[in-house]
Amino acid sequence: MKIHMKRNLMLLLVMILLVSLAFSGCGGGTGNGDEEQQQPVSIAYYATNSEPILDWDPSVMFSNGIIVLNNIYETLLRYDAVNNEIIPVLAESYGKSDDSLVWTFNIRQGVKFHDGTDLNAEAVKYSIDRTMRINKGASYIWAAVKEINVVDEYTVEFVLNYPAPMDLIASTGYAAFIYSPASVTSDDSEWFSSGQECGTGPYMLQSQVPGDEVVLTKYEEYWSGWEGEHFDKVVIKKVTETSSRRQMIEKGEADVTINLPYEDVEAMKDNEDVTIELENSYINVASYFNTQKAPLDDKLVRQALSYAFPYDDVVEFVLGGYGTQGRGPVPKGLWGHGKTLKQYTYDLDKAKELLAEAGYPDGGFSLLYTYMSGDEEEKKTAQLYKAELAKIGVDLEIRGMPWDSQWEMSKGDPEGRQDMLVMYWWPDYPSPVSWLYNLYHSEEEPLFNLGYYSNEQVDALIEEADQKSASDIAEAEELFVQAQEIIVDEAPAIFQYDKINVWVENNTFKGHVPNPAYPNVVFFYNTYRGE
């Protein structure tokens, strides 16, 4: 018995010794085979809350893949939301005809795609033509384009059916990427799906774990060069758990993250190793009334319900202060935002007065309010609003639903539609038209105008403003604000809040300037490691 025990003990010891020898022999990067010593590289690490990218086709991708693709591919122009100006990227300059129907872009020379071929006008035409042919994702941004002509090797011309702001459209973070026709030869996405890319951007795809991690490595031939400080590699990884993302930033394992709960942000404020950066995003939230159904077809009732909304409480208690009350449909920071627009305030007396005027002195009706299930902010907001409406005799049934189900319900039979629906909105390209046309312009069949709002004067103003934005932004802005004045007065929606994006960064991560026109995107070429 004792001999057995001794033998077992010896065996165990030998095993432990073997395992520890195996481990200690290969530490510190001096392994065997192909694990030889490598040059030190600087790596930037971005922990995101969703898959880094789902669809690799730059003509189709219309989601969070914007983060990855904007570092691999480039657009003709880029919109600098902070200074409200257009930055030349693949187009060195551009011009337009007097009627804004012909836009000419002069393509930068000496730019190479990652496959080694040269960028030229033909590649620009091919890329945008392919995007329009495939007709998926955000391809509709090119709706005004009649044809694209190659004028010469480095000049390309967009001929339009009607005036449209091609400079803003060509700056879009989706569906405006230029890629190499030498690599992409067909309209299906198979070539991209097999993990390949052919952009001109500063970084190339090194490797990926689908749905989990993307590793980018610098493209030595990048047209803007690599002088100065830059990262050699970039890791974009999905880390769903907010507590994990927080711990990674605190321990310096990750450099940058976004969408942490406000409680975590507050708790990290005093941490010297962490930088909190606030960005006035272009994302805002509104709840849309069913303007086709009584009692909400009455403007007075909608105004009353707008006065009953606890704006300040929502900003303070739901958003932790990281938001501002909405002023009209267009968010703060974007051109076309109505700085002088009327803003509804929380005023229950005024609400009661208006309800009485509309024939509902004691309220006495019930409404169904739907929000996206799983979204804590929308849920808490709904609960606060319910409590306020109860005070004026209006019963609010709040119901969390998956976005798809909510959307289907609102596109269905008018009588079966919810009375109020909450929806986020963000622009495809930086123009107020994204909100005003999609959400408030009359629609024959509802798609995103889910308040079913219809006003001919507003329609005309929006259309005119959109066309004007091709030639005269100031005049367009004025028309957009005029449309918003009518909308705010008629209150087809409660303009709940404009979101502030909170970026949490390791404070050695430098050079990142958030740009709300490209949600969640870090242009890693501009960033570097500093003290």
Binding site: A22, S50, P210, E213, V239
Partner: protein, 336 residues
């Protein structure tokens, strides 16, 4: 015996068909438009209409179902609505990571759970037994997400000795080419002799591995203990002891052999449970497995992906049940 197994397989196929039919119907009934999802978040009416034809959604239900089954028989699970990638390819990418985790948990359940159960039975009602039972009950009843977060807090944040999540350190995955034979990183790095990668992958495996293994360890320990206790009271054990056979032989050979039937069944079935359990654990440990894939698919109402994972899970469950049935049938005391 052959007839029995064939009967079970046939029954399994019928169940599988039922699962597919029900899931397929549910995905068609839930108010959501796969065509809109296919095109993108801001799909226009025209785009949606085009997509409806492209995806065959304009066809009657029965034709859609028939086409799905026919494609399925050819190994085609359709395309994910979110990524536009073949679901079969995506599953192939995600399954190995989950299987690796489940296998480790099962292995731990066997090598820790069985001895724990045996000692618990041997020292019935003594402190070792109480301790083991306390552990087993705790292991099966502690909420997985709590254990996961607790382990992360202790071993990553406080002690700083184990990684927070993922399968491999970022630096290593960037600097070295990862071996890919089976997709199971531990196994692949070991057989290719890449010990540094093996070490790193092993360290990443510890916390999720423990979290996932706790339940099956506890379950197997409890099962082994109760099965063994019952057997230890049998007459043949009393007879063996009276012949003067060493206690070790009686316990580890005569008694254990007969108690392994129910334990094996529990192990086989707990693999199924463990698979489901990893779904939550993967989210917390950023483990790129099928669990995270299905949770994203469900949130995004990505029907083809949901169908794919459902079919995979159903097949695993049915196979495990079949194995459990066969184990039971192998026992000569059982008539089949």
């Amino acid at each position: 015996m052959k007839k029995y197994i064939l009967r079970r397989i046939l029954l399994g196929i019928i169940v599988l068909f039922g699962v597919i039919a029900i899931t397929f119907t549910i995905t068609r009934v839930i108010p959501s438009d796969p065509a809109a999802k296919w095109v993108g978040p801001r799909a226009t009416h025209e785009q949606i209409q085009e997509a409806r034809i492209e995806l065959g959604l304009d066809q009657p239900y029965i034709i859609q179902f028939g086409k799905y089954i026919s494609d399925l028989l050819h190994g085609d699970l359709g395309y994910s609505l979110r990524s536009h990638q073949p679901v079969a390819t995506e599953l192939k990418n995600y399954i190995p990571a989950t299987v690796e985790l489940v296998l480790l948990a099962t292995l731990l359940a066997i090598i820790l759970g069985i001895p724990l159960g045996i000692y618990s039975a041997k020292y019935k009602n003594r402190w070792l037994d109480h301790l083991s039972r306390l552990f087993s009950v705790g292991a099966v009843s502690l909420p997985t997400f709590w254990v996961a977060l607790f382990l992360q807090l202790i071993f990553f944040s406080k002690l700083e000795i184990l990684p927070l999540g993922g399968r491999i350190s970022t630096n290593i995955s960037i600097m070295y080419e990862l071996p890919n034979i089976t997709g199971m990183l531990l196994f692949d790095s070991l057989v290719t002799g890449k010990f540094m990668i093996f070490k790193d992958a092993f360290l990443h495996m510890i916390l999720p591995g423990i979290t996932v293994a706790l339940y099956p360890i506890g379950l197997v320990a409890r099962m082994t203990r109760s099965a063994l206790l019952e057997i230890l009271n049998e007459e043949y054990i009393v007879a063996s002891r009276s012949y003067g056979l060493p206690e070790k032989t009686v316990l580890w050979i005569y008694a254990l052999k007969n108690s392994l039937g129910p334990t094996s069944t529990v192990v086989a079935l707990s693999v199924g449970y463990t698979l489901m359990n990893t779904f939550l654990v993967e989210a917390i440990f950023s483990w790129p497995g099928i669990g995270r894939y299905i949770s994203d698919a469900v949130i995004g109402l990505d029907y083809p992906a949901i169908m794919g994972v459902t079919i995979f899970s159903a097949v695993v469950y049915l196979a495990l049940n079949l194995i459990a049935d066969i184990i039971i049938a192998l026992d000569p005391r059982v008539r089949v």
